[in-house]
Subunit: 385 residues, 2 copies
Amino acid sequence: MSVTAPQGFEASGVAAGLKSTGKPDVAVVVNRGPRKIGAAVFTTNRAKANPIIWSQQVIADRVVEAVVLNSGGANCFTGAFGFQTTHLTAEKAAELLDVSAGDVLVCSTGLIGTGDEVFRGKVLDGVERGIASLRVDGGDDAAAAIMTTDSVPKTATVTRDGWTIGGMAKGAGMLAPGLATMLVVITTDADLEASQADAALRRATAVSFDRLDSDGCMSTNDQVTLLANAASGIRPDLDDFAAALTELCRDLAEQLQADAEGASHSIAIEVKNAVTETEAVEVGRSVARNNLFKAAIFGNDPNWGRVLAAIGTTSAQFDPYDVDVSMNGVRVCTAGGPDRPREEVDLTPREVRIEIDLKMGDATATILTNDLTHDYVHENSAYAS
Amino acid sequence: MSVTAPQGFEASGVAAGLKSTGKPDVAVVVNRGPRKIGAAVFTTNRAKANPIIWSQQVIADRVVEAVVLNSGGANCFTGAFGFQTTHLTAEKAAELLDVSAGDVLVCSTGLIGTGDEVFRGKVLDGVERGIASLRVDGGDDAAAAIMTTDSVPKTATVTRDGWTIGGMAKGAGMLAPGLATMLVVITTDADLEASQADAALRRATAVSFDRLDSDGCMSTNDQVTLLANAASGIRPDLDDFAAALTELCRDLAEQLQADAEGASHSIAIEVKNAVTETEAVEVGRSVARNNLFKAAIFGNDPNWGRVLAAIGTTSAQFDPYDVDVSMNGVRVCTAGGPDRPREEVDLTPREVRIEIDLKMGDATATILTNDLTHDYVHENSAYAS
């Protein structure tokens, strides 16, 4: 049910011809109220696609009526014409829904540079048919329509005492085409103030999507949106809500990791006993972005030296000769030197767990990543041809 | 002739059994004077191999009598035993050369974690035979002995008015085994003060080896050494010397780039009209480290959107919608939008030139890198098996 699991939301997914396969490529999510609260986080890339530039304006007043999403074209680096396409998309939806265009978010994903006249026509047609197809159980259709090379749609639902959170996601790391764009729409019928929705979303994404670093590349189009309508009539405890939202975001992040194209391993890098959580994240990310480490995991090679060499490039507080490293439960490195024989480590399962003990403090963070494979290179070298 | 091109240096390369192939794996370079000046730059990785820890002590007084280098084992993360091996290596050489062990640099390259009793015995034996084999024309033997999976030895010579600089190099980026360690020894018979040698080396490496970023991974063992003996009796103009040294370092860096294992393209990323050189370097490096860009070049795909998306992650001063990008002479992006059709770009030659015009200032820098290929993944996943 994804985004239509909570009360008071409608959604749809239609085929507008943006995808050469003829599969659904335009999704619409509409909030029927009573409240129309929105919160969103965006890519921090300074090179932003037109939908990001538009949506950052829309979200300023924290009122959102609807979200229009398209796959099959990122509408990025498409100039003034491309921005106008985004604007027209929002206006078209607003007109049909009888709301303000300034309350319609737009998200796009696909090849950068795609956003010409033909693209515009198809998107606008898709909006019209998408809105005509809105259903209270349309969440799964919407989740399918935002897929690019995802092999499965990603959805999640969390229900607590009388209120529900639903979500859909696409993309993230190692996904052709383009820049591994991650689009996420989350809905809830809990009764939240706008500032509470915003705070909860930032808290949840900081420890979920922000810790998924599949290939170190940052998209121009990433957007994670939360819509809240109070349709349940229930005002949750804020910590409970934030915890439930975090659970849902982590679930979606793990689904993205599991489906990362070209990947043969899902790697969780747990950094323990750092001085601060920020340093734990920095250490985990340095390993997640190290191509030599990632290629070693692809080859089922427990090359702990590459882990230490990656950590050595950070500014985190640690002593290289006091660090322990375990791989899938086997401590291969103790205090910066060899421990158990590498032959004891079994890296054949898809799930790989790297534990790094910095022995400096008590902060912990886990970064999720994938391995660097032949298929990754293939997918990302060949998609445009 | 490499390191024995200048007067007053002797070198050798011998097979000590560290390489399973039986090829030469221990090299010795000795400065016969009259002066014994040394300068060196080291990896900035905080996880340093034992030879780095040792050599950083040796170089402190800027007096160097000899350099001992081995391939076939990095002697990194090998604990106190490994450090002792490095120490014994220097002592052995010092004893045979009748100099102080504190004036003998040690460099190692190969698999991390290699440094046991057997390794030690072979290295010490190699030192003995290497010193017995020293010759005034032994530079090429030394250059061959430091190779790991390099397909050719890298040497260069620059001669000016009565003085000469010679150099040898191995490694750098995409080189199995291990961490793409770069080892470089440069010799000169010019008459330099120690502070002048140090300044010239830092100036030259900053715009040559420091701008070669093949795969973004930093080794635990990198070392670039300059030995100066004044044997020519000529005191060069310092700017002339620095320029000649820079020319030689760039030559060696380009040889390393050209031989990067697994690579199918040598990519020069020229960033023009940045506000500062530091920002130009940051921008160039962000592109050089972007896996999606690197995979696109492997696929001969002029994907300029990935160039802009990479630049967007930097803190350099620029406007994404005012940047021009050319690929092999074809301007595919003007002011952040499409320009010439991608079909006009021919990326089939090994040499690829990316020009990025930030239109903000007048600083320029060029970063050298390689593409991300199937062979890169293969080499770096399989070497240890």
